[in-house]
């Protein structure tokens, strides 16, 4: 496996880490499986595509825009929809997020149609020259941003008041409410934050690959796997999960060919779910208690 494959894997890992972090955040705090997560990545990608096509805005600069817009989608989704069904059986919350997914998919289809789109900034293809290998600027940028987001999220959760309130709510929402934390608002903020991460991930996707509405399915599927591998609810674990999945897919493509990739992926996934449902980085008794 050469340097090129490693570079591909790193790029993928960066994107997967961001996708997984947002998904894990929603699950960790609210115990919500956000079936619209893949669609949100897709929307983020299309926002960046649009800004680039209309006004030539560089994808990396449009990250705040897609993040902000997805926050504006995630917050009300939680506040007005999910919060109203969250205490009944899980099927309802799953169906609500699935409905949001259909809405987002419909909106994108109506606005941009189903063709493939691409962002090609001026520095596309150019990169750092190290010996005989070219490391593209674009890919380096994506990995750097992904890293920055992981670090940023970590700092936010441990150093800011809101971050700590979110952590407290995730650990024990009754106790958090008793110390004066408004859990409805924290839920909405967490949802907004997780979706914003999805949006940012979408921008990174648009910066790396061609996009179409059909990307939302696979990204949702990947979000599951990444989050479970890292331990559902464990955000830094999602980073590890992203790296593991990216490596597994890259290695799998090299040695087994594309077709068995998903089968192997599923077997690993199922084994993890059954034998170690708290993920590779989780700890046993948190699940039991």
């Amino acid at each position: 496996m050469g340097l090129q494959e490693i570079a591909n894997a790193l790029l993928l890992a960066g994107i997967y880490a961001c996708v997984g972090m947002g998904f894990s955040l929603l699950y960790g705090v609210m115990n919500i499986v956000n079936l619209a997560h893949g669609a949100m990545v897709m929307v983020g990608a299309y926002i960046s595509f649009w800004l680039f096509t209309l006004w030539g805005i560089d994808p990396f600069i449009s990250i705040p825009a897609s993040a902000l817009l997805l926050f504006a989608i995630g917050y009300p989704m939680q506040a007005y929809l999910v919060n109203n069904v969250i205490r009944s059986d899980i099927l309802r919350s799953l169906l609500v997020t699935y409905g949001v997914e259909m809405l987002l998919l419909g909106a994108v289809l109506v606005t941009w149609g189903s063709n493939y789109r691409a962002i090609t900034p001026r520095y596309f293809g150019a990169g750092f020259q190290i010996g005989r290998v070219v490391i593209p600027y674009l890919r380096t940028g994506v990995v750097a941003v992904a890293l920055a987001m992981a670090v940023g999220l970590n700092l936010f959760m441990s150093r800011t008041r809101i971050g700590m309130a979110i952590k407290a709510t995730a650990l024990n929402k009754e106790a958090a409410a008793l110390v004066g934390i408004n859990i409805r608002r924290i839920y909405a903020i967490s949802s907004g934050l997780g979706c914003a991460l999805a949006g940012a991930a979408g921008t990174l996707v648009a910066a790396s690959y061609t996009i179409s509405p059909s990307i939302e399915g696979p990204y949702l599927g990947n979000a599951f796997v990444i989050a479970v591998l890292g331990g559902l609810g464990n955000m830094m674990g999602a980073v590890a999960g992203g790296v593991v999945l990216a490596l597994a897919e890259t290695v799998g493509a090299v040695y087994f060919g594309m077709s068995f990739q998903r089968l192997i992926g599923f077997v690993i996934f199922l084994l993890v779910l059954i034998l170690r449902p708290y993920g590779l980085m989780g700890r046993r008794f948190y699940a039991e208690i």
């Binding site: 115990n31 205490r87 409905g99 419909g106 449902p277």
Partner: protein, 319 residues
């Protein structure tokens, strides 16, 4: 009017039996499709509505049944009706085989495991070329329905499977298994403490669900004459059947059928009239139904349904 209230299932059945004589080919096809979805929704109801395990990936059995029938009819030259029955049994066997490990996972993990199962089975079918023709698809022999018109034949096949499913659900609900599933759904620890073998009943529920879902797949295969993996393992179809179940009323005996028929008719009208906004409309409808109709339609009209109880149920689900 009171007579209607009491005997409405019989009225509905009469309408269903005479439908082919009353509607055109296009609408007959729509209704046949609706009946098929009703079977799928009822199947989902057994494992999710009764046993409390939301198997979002339940469509896997539809695919297994479709491929089962297809392979039996092409490679073994089996006639339709035995192949149909066998396809149901193959689906059931698959559920029993995978039930014990998969049903040990709980909550969201279980949902994801079933979705993953569908994905993996799809992939497996794609790869087992020699048997399933992989992604090329299988062409089944052309239906021989004798003097009966083709579409009418499949309409009645689907109706028959649906009636069998509803009847089986009704029998199950009154039996020991019905009580066991209700107990398990409510509190599986307490169920164990009163002597219920939880794993056994969950697997049994899944096997029952798989049997009917797979038969629908087998009938579908013969009807379409050609099947491909991505069509019969379609996760969108799977979620659709859960939506129909939730819309009609999970855990009731005919709720899912009503939900399926209603949704399919609405879906067909919207798709027919406004293809562009199909997803937008369906998404909006889904969100509205889930948030505003916590227990589906039938419980809205059932015993004890008042504005007060409706508001209570809404509040119970709120954060």
């Amino acid at each position: 009017m009171r007579r209607f209230k009491r005997y409405w299932p019989i009225f509905l059945l009469a309408v269903a039996l005479f439908l082919p004589a009353l509607v055109s080919g296009y609408w007959l096809r729509v209704f046949t499709s609706a009946l098929m979805f009703a079977v799928l929704a009822q199947g989902a109801n057994i494992i999710s509505g009764y046993a409390g395990c939301p198997a979002l990936g339940n469509i896997v059995f539809f695919g297994v049944g479709a491929y089962g029938a297809a392979v039996l009819m092409t490679a073994l030259k089996m006639p339709f009706l035995p192949a149909l029955l066998l396809s149901g049994l193959i689906g059931m066997a698959y559920a029993v085989l995978l039930g014990v490990p998969v049903l040990k996972t709980r909550g969201h993990y279980f949902v994801m495991a079933t979705i993953g199962l569908n994905d993996a089975t799809h992939e497996l079918v794609n790869n087992v070329d020699f048997l399933t023709q992989g992604s090329r698809g299988i062409a089944l022999p052309l239906p021989e329905t004798g003097k009966i018109e083709l579409l009418t034949f499949f309409y009645f096949v689907m109706l028959a499977i649906l009636l069998a499913t509803i009847f089986a659900t009704w029998l199950m609900a009154k039996s020991r298994m019905g009580y066991a599933l209700k107990a398990i759904k409510s509190d599986d620890e307490a169920a164990r403490a009163v002597g219920i073998n939880v794993t056994f009943y969950r697997v049994a529920a899944w096997a029952m669900s798989a049997f009917f879902t797979a038969m629908a797949g087998g009938a579908f295969a013969y009807w379409m004459t050609f099947i491909e993996p991505h069509v019969v393992f379609d996760i969108v179809m799977s979620v659709k059947m859960f939506i129909m179940m939730a819309l009609g009323g999970a855990g009731t005996i005919i709720g899912p059928t009503l939900g399926a028929i209603l949704l399919e008719l609405v879906s067909e009208t919207v798709w027919g009239g406004f293809p562009q906004v199909h997803y937008l409309v369906l998404g909006a409808v889904l969100v509205a139904v889930v948030v505003l109709l916590p227990e589906g339609m039938t419980l809205l009209f059932g015993k004890g349904a008042t504005l007060k109880t409706y508001r209570q149920r809404l509040k119970a689900g709120r954060l």
